[in-house]
């Protein structure tokens, strides 16, 4: 196996685009090395992107936050401005694994690993995050929900590299939240999960909302009907019940030892309601 650690984007793209055998990108490695060790994959080439300048940085610009593809999830929680603007995204990223894993795992990797249960992805989808993709065809921005196409598969082409995840500039009176269900308090994979991001207008009426669910379908699902159920409301009980019903209708989960179809469907609605309530309070400056 060949290991390369290019120091610029062009070289990284050329290595991936020109690779003869199986080539994999290495960011935090917390999925890749496990798959190598388990002999699920047998790479001919691994391209470590962490030596590319800027890839380990979180930038706060006029248009929003840009989180480099090599930034470990633990670093998100140490960025005070990011925590203030996107607490839901940060908490979703920080639920992944132990301190050891937090020191390495990345949100770009969490996205590209394409697990339906990826914790950071529902929060990113709710946040209207985009992936900055650089490939043989140049640079483009792709909505996070358009990256994953199914369990373990993405829409990325040969030589495409997600260089950063960008979060849009936050309007005032906005809040987001992410909740997941696991049968213990720490160190587990979501049985189902929900991310909600919303912005309030006059009199604290919800002006815009995005609701995304994890682990209840082959990919994270954006649920526009759930968002519509709370837009124009102040999250009164009937609005929350409609939101939950829309979420349940959007679920098509698997049945396994970690959760039945019925359980995942019902709990996804409950989590979406609770996440919406937290996001609402945050938008009002209450949590």
């Amino acid at each position: 196996m060949r290991y390369e650690s290019p120091t610029n984007t062009r070289e990284a793209v050329a290595l991936m685009a020109g690779a003869k055998g199986d080539a994999y990108l290495l960011a935090g490695g917390t999925d890749l090395l496990v798959r190598m060790r388990g002999e699920f994959i047998d790479p001919d080439l691994v391209v470590d992107i962490k030596r590319i300048p800027g890839i380990l940085e979180i930038r706060n610009t006029a248009s929003g936050f840009s989180i480099g593809a090599g930034v470990p999830c633990g670093a998100l929680g140490r960025d005070k401005a990011l925590v203030r603007h996107w607490p839901g995204v940060v908490e979703s990223a920080q639920l992944i694994g132990s301190d050891q894993i937090q020191g390495r795992c990345t949100i770009a990797g969490n996205l590209c690993n394409a697990s339906p249960a990826a914790d950071s992805v529902p929060a990113l989808v709710a946040a209207r995050a985009k992936a900055v993709v650089v490939g043989p065809g140049g640079r483009r921005r792709v909505a996070v929900e358009d990256i994953v196409t199914g369990p373990g598969t993405t829409s990325l082409g040969k030589g495409d590299i997600v260089m950063a995840i960008v979060l849009p500039k936050r309007p005032p009176k906005s809040g987001d939240a992410y909740l997941r269900f696991i049968p213990r308090t720490e160190m587990d994979i979501a049985v189902c999960s929900a991310g909600v991001s919303l912005t309030l207008g006059p009199r604290n009426v919800v002006k815009q909302a995005r609701v995304a669910l994890g682990a209840v379908a082959p990919t994270v699902v954006l649920v526009p009907k759930a968002a519509r159920a709370i837009v124009g409301t102040r999250l009164e009980d009937d609005a929350l019940m409609k939101l939950a019903a829309a979420c349940e209708a959007a679920c098509s989960p698997i049945d396994d030892k970690r959760g039945t179809v019925e359980f995942r469907t019902e709990v996804a609605g409950v989590l979406a309601r609770r996440a919406a309530a937290i996001a609402y309070d945050r938008a009002r400056g209450k949590r």
């Binding site: 196996m1 490695g29 301190d99 050891q100 894993i101």
Partner: protein, 168 residues
Amino acid sequence: MKGIAVSTTVNGDAVDFVCDGRETLLDVLRNHLGLIGAKEGCGTGDCGACSVMFDGQLVCSCLVLGAEAEGREIETVEGMADGDKLHPLQKRFLEKAALQCGVCTPGFLVAAKALLDRNDNPSESEIRYALAGNLCRCTGYDKIVRAVSAAAGDLRRQQKAAARRKAG
């Protein structure tokens, strides 16, 4: 197969090694550098027995490639004691019998030190969360938590004494 030449720093010493692209940092530490403190429990980042510091960050060395160590700074359990003088964590682990078989102990020590370096007075709950990535099948964790708490007190007392000496 052609090896990859790597220059790095381990416990403050400059170290060169040649490794295969597939070898993990844990393989390198144990098989090339003779540092067998870090253990392989699971090899998949679940058990924490291979915990080391990598550029100041607590990591599972089984999830880092050896080649990634180029130019980085690595600290292992072997660098914890000051010559013959054990670190307060090591002393308290012995005193409180916070180990039985000992396979997990180097990982717990490294992870506990990472905690105490950023928080010198952690609550029991903070200790348990910080050590959630380290598994122990012998102790039931209680003695480990007590040892870490006691060591935190030792370190605080040491710091106070040092501050007094400086002031006096």
